[in-house]
Symmetry: C2
Subunit: 185 residues, 2 copies
DNA sequence: CCTTAATATAAGACTTGACATATATATTAC
DNA sequence: GTAATATATATGTCAAGTCTTATATTAAGG
């Protein structure tokens, strides 16, 4: 139910519509909690039903009406309660690691190609992370105090550290393959 | 559909029953692809229907009958085809990072408690990883050649590197909190 | 002029995975 | 003696997430 709490977290900054939230998710937390548009709307409906948020209809003439959601006291309590509780440990499924686990069934050439592809993608993600702070700043000005953006940047920092470690791992294995250190049988 | 291919991966070593596979999953790939018992059985049924595996019924007197599954040529083609294709990038959801992202809404004391809990858990996982090679060896003797177990250990190596990077990150933030380097507002 | 993108919300259908429960017998532990 | 554990497979149900499509208007680009 992290989506619920991520939404509450943003609404605790200020009121937003589902449309706003989708854009915010896509530029901030999508790297560790992507959210589908339809799921955001459905969750907003559910949270409203639970009394965690309150809907305010804003009528517009030239555009579709907006439904702006405000967090309630009950919602704030729910948010803080969840935040101060240990998070469920997310299983972290990795199809890539499944492929690595069984990689011995492929030829050396195929394995090398696979790991070089991994390394290529990891470098791409690291580059992408370098450009993120600017995108975060967009919302930092609207929503975030220095205290809040400190932790926004911390999540990015973890992403970089993790990705660097992954890249080192991939490069280490590539080196082993090239040196012929992978057992043949 | 990684579960399908992980099952095919194991059946390509040798035939197994659903019961066998559940135990194997729990001691090998569960750290990056946990599998529910009921899902394994249902997937075996589906793979058999698709012709990727073939069922052999082994009758037992004092115990329930076993259904042992053999990989077919079609299954082998499916496996290699998937292995040599780029894996779908798994979203890697992290409720913990959602909590970090919004941590600025908590007090310094609450934040410190949270990160120390993270660090504690990460150290626990690292210790757990140290004991894993012995458990892997159980199956390594039955199933794995040196070539195969080389990649088994590689997945563990990535887990360790990633977890070490995570721990360093948590410790870095704990130090920042203690030094009062988290903005107050 | 036509098409695409942006603004805005929502429902339908589907897949994956999680959790509980059912069934049946033999062995092990207390 | 009784309860728990191991062996072995299977169904029911639910939650979470993904993908597609529907609706309606305006502005911008080619």
């Amino acid at each position: 139910m992290s989506l619920d709490h991520a939404i509450l977290g943003f609404l605790n900054y200020q009121p937003f519509s589902g449309y706003d939230l989708k854009k915010i998710f896509d530029t901030t937390v999508r790297h560790f909690w992507p959210a589908d548009q339809s799921q955001i709307y459905r969750t907003l409906g559910r949270l409203a039903g639970q009394g965690c948020i309150r809907m305010e209809k804003i009528e517009q003439t030239s555009r579709p009406d907006r439904k702006v959601y405000h967090i309630t006291e009950a919602g704030r309590r729910e948010l803080v309660g969840w935040m101060t509780t240990a998070p469920p440990n997310d299983p972290a499924r990795s199809a890539a690691l499944v492929q690595v686990f069984f990689a011995g069934q492929l030829t050396d050439k195929q394995i090398l190609a696979k790991f070089e592809e991994f390394a290529f993608m990891m470098r791409g993600i690291l580059k992408l992370y370098d450009d993120l702070p600017e995108k975060l700043d967009e919302y930092a000005q609207v929503v975030g105090s220095p205290r809040e953006t400190f932790f926004w940047r911390s999540t990015l920092d973890l992403g970089k550290r993790t990705m660097r470690a992954n890249l080192e791992w991939a490069e280490h294995i590539i080196a082993q393959i090239k040196k012929g250190q992978v057992p043949r049988k």
